[in-house]
Structures are given as C-alpha cells and as structure tokens.
Amino acid sequence: MGLIFREKEIAPCTVRVSHCFDELSAHVKFDNGAVVHPGDTVLVQGPEIMAPYGEVVEERRTAIITRASRLEQLWTRATGDFEFMELCEFSFSEEVMS
C-alpha cells in the first residue's frame, strides 16, 4: 500500500438483491475472499441491478476495489466514527423536502 497513491484491484463478486415484502436487502460479497479496509472504494461493474418486486436476484459481477492510500486510511479511521447518525431512523436523508 502506498503512502499517497492508490492501487486498484479486480475482484469477482456476487451481488444479491432481495426486493420482497419480507426482505428488502442488497449485499455484495467478494468471491475471492478479498476484504475491504477503511477508506477503500468498491465499484461494481456493469448496469444497474434491480430485482423486480417480489423477487430475489443473484448475479456474478466484477468489482474494482480502489485501495485507500495509507494516509487516506488513517484519515478515515480518525473521522469515520462521526457518521454514526445514519443508523438512527431520524437521520437526515439525502432528499429532505426536495
């Protein structure tokens, strides 16, 4: 890992989307056991994935993991904690009263 430069790697992944009445969820799992660290960015390649209502969709895709530089990782570790408000039901959504 570089101090300042980012590195990219490619990882096969499985995306699972459930768009059902009893489960709305979406998860990305790396099939090669790759793990993400603070500050890393993951981009799943290909068109948008959307399960029709009432269905579960599982797809194999490729993801590009952009590894954070050492500095970025330190920064994310130091500041990430303050985004916890997201977990509260009254947190600020992106589309407030737009």
Partner: protein, 372 residues
C-alpha cells in the same frame, strides 16, 4: 419468490426495465402512473473485526442465550403482514405538505433500517466469533424485514426505491467497535421509545392515525427493544466500555443523538400536527423514556430538565434552519451565513455537552422488558 439463476439480470438490464416490470406486477395497485424513484443511500462500514471477535459473552451467558433463543424463535415473524387492519389510503387527497413530510419520514426510516441491515450483514460475514455473528445475522433479518415493510408502504404511495447505489462507487468508512455498540444500542433504544410513544398516543387518539403503518409500531419497536438488549449485554462484557474516558463518549453520543432527533423532528411540522403531537413534547417524552431505559447500562443520564437544555436545542434548530436557507441562497453571502450559523450550532452543542450529567449506578443485571 423466485431466485433468478446467474447471469440473468432479473430479466431486465436496466433499472427502468425492472421498474416497468414492477408496474406490470402491480397492476392491481392504484398507482399506475410511473413511479417516482428514490435512491437509497446507505453508508458502508468496516470495523476492527479482530477486536470484535475477542468479545467474550461468558460473563452474561445465561441472559445472552435466552435473548438469542427468543430472537431465533422469531416471535414477530407473522406480524409484518398486511391484513384487514391495513386501511386504504387516499394518497392523492393527502395535503401536499403532509404527504411530502410523511414520505420523507418513510424514506429516512427505510434508509436507516437498510443501513443497519448492510452493517450487520458485514459484521456477520467478516466476524469469526459465533456468538457475535449469530446476533448480527438475526438483527440483519429483522432490519431487512422492516425495510421491506416500509418499502411496501412507499410503493403504495407511488415511490419506488432504487438500489442503484450497488453499481456506484462505495467508499467504506470506519467505525470503532465500541462506537458501534454505543451508537447501535442508542439507536435501537431511542427507536423503541419513538415508535412506542407514537403508538400509545394514537391508541388514545385513533382519529389522528392518518396511515395504517402506525398500527404496526408496537411489534416493530419490540424488535428494536431486543436488539438494544443484546447491545446492553455486550456493553456489560467489558466494564471499561462504560467507565473512565468512555463516560465522555457516552455523553457525547447521547447528546448528539438527542439533539439531532430534536432538530430533525422540528423539520416535520405538518407530520407532527397531523398526528396531534407537539414535537417539543414528543422529544422530551422520548428522551425521558430512553434515559430511563439506558440506566440499565450507561453510567450517566443527561439532565433533560436543566435550564440550559431546551433553549440550546431551540438554538440548534434555529441555526440548522439558517444553514438550509443559506445553502439555498448560495453565493459568497450564503457561504458566510452558513459559517456563522454552523458556529452557532456548534456553540449550542458545546453548551449542551457542558450541562452536568446525572450519575447512575448501573444494576447488576441488565435485563429489561418493554414496559411502555
């Protein structure tokens, strides 16, 4: 429920196609018009998984096993079904401001449930400690169920959630394990207090229940209550988590969560007016219940009756309104106004943080049952 085999893309290569299919499936629904799309924007977290794996629940084993056993038995499994109690809603006839605020309420609730689900699933997947991964698996199940239920209510209103974030760049942020415990514990318990307070109010004033989803709040919040119980036990496993410098972190989390809630609720005047609830009264009632519950594990509670409490919440709210107005105004003037308003909000927060807290002697056993 169909599971499509790979490499199908749900038979639709674009979200638009998928949404169009949805319309067909939903032909029985009143909303034949194109659905309005709302993009869910959850955050993605990593944490120190080794530290989390090192948790040892043997000190609270009996309570832990009972709680996990109850969660596994899934008492609310059959609850989240629409039955005859689900009244028809005249969305088109709803007063526009109320409709906008109510939909915003549903979207932020759905996003929170969804984010919880993403976080818990990640913990489950990357953890190795069976006690911890079992808990996160069960919590992810409940959150996904809640999100699905809210999603259904949104669909009735003609709003489709868009999971397009999946194929957008996602940056993983970092959350220290102890902060996950504090934040999750609090968000689950305050969630319980919020839902039950509205439920009880509407029980007494059914004429103000303008949407059937409120009828489901009791069982819903019992899930939140159990999740909070699990985190209370986790906090009990290591006395350091609730002593020393961590007392200040707990005070910080309490203050941040209470003040955010207060600011946020005051942004939905029409929603609260329709329910017949004064947001200031509601806030204090929720804080009172949450403080009472959190005495099971936190070594302090906030003094919500202190003379500086309410005035500073009001100041934060005014500063926040000013920040939004300045952002809309834009330009250099807008930027300057925003800096001033942000400084005012920060000053109000500092004032809230410096209110002396009320010490609490934590009981031996944490176990609580929903009592409100």
């Amino acid at each position: 429920m169909n599971t499509h085999a790979m490499p199908h893309s749900a038979d639709a290569t674009t979200a638009e196609e998928a949404l169009a299919r949805q319309e067909v499936i939903d032909s029985s629904m009143a909303t034949e018009v194109a659905m309005q799309n709302t993009l869910l924007t959850p955050r993605f977290y990593t944490t120190d998984f080794d530290e989390m794996d090192a948790i040892d629940v043997s000190g609270v084993r009996k309570d832990w096993d009972e709680l996990i056993g109850r969660m596994k038995s899934d008492p609310n499994k059959g609850h989240f079904k629409k039955n005859a109690d689900w009244d028809e809603i005249d969305w088109d006839g709803m007063e526009p401001k109320l409709k906008a605020e109510f939909i915003d309420f549903l979207i932020s609730s759905c996003t929170a449930e969804f984010s919880g689900c993403v976080l818990y699933k990640e913990m489950k997947r990357r953890g190795k400690n069976a006690d911890i991964t079992t808990l996160f698996q069960l919590m992810a199940r409940d959150e996904a169920r809640h999100a699905g239920f809210i999603n259904d209510a949104l669909r009735e209103a003609g709003i489709a959630v868009n999971l397009g974030f999946l194929t957008q760049a996602k940056k993983y942020t970092y959350f220290r394990p102890k902060f996950i415990y504090y934040a999750t514990y609090l968000s689950e318990k305050i969630g319980y207090a919020r839902y039950i307070t509205i439920f009880r109010h509407l029980e007494a004033h059914p004429e103000q229940r303008f949407h059937p989803i409120f009828k489901w709040f009791r069982e819903w919040c019992n899930d939140e209550f159990s999740h909070g119980e699990a985190f209370a036990l986790l906090l009990k496993t290591d006395p350091k988590l609730t002593s020393g410098i961590n007392k200040y972190w707990i005070k910080f989390f309490l203050t941040a969560v209470y003040s955010t809630m207060s600011v946020r609720d005051h942004q939905r005047p029409a929603f609260h007016a329709a329910l017949g609830v004064d947001p200031t009264w509601y806030g204090q009632e929720v804080f009172r219940k949450t403080s009472e519950i959190s005495r099971q594990v936190f070594p302090l509670t906030l003094d919500i009756n202190h003379p500086r409490w309410q005035p500073n919440l009001d100041r934060m709210q005014a500063a926040n309104a000013e920040i939004s107005a300045a952002r809309k105004a834009g330009g250099v003037g807008g930027w300057l106004r925003r800096q001033v308003a942000s400084a005012k909000a920060a000053a109000a927060f500092v004032s809230l943080m410096t209110i002396p807290s009320i010490p609490n002697a934590v009981p031996e056993t944490t176990r609580l049952v929903p009592a409100y």
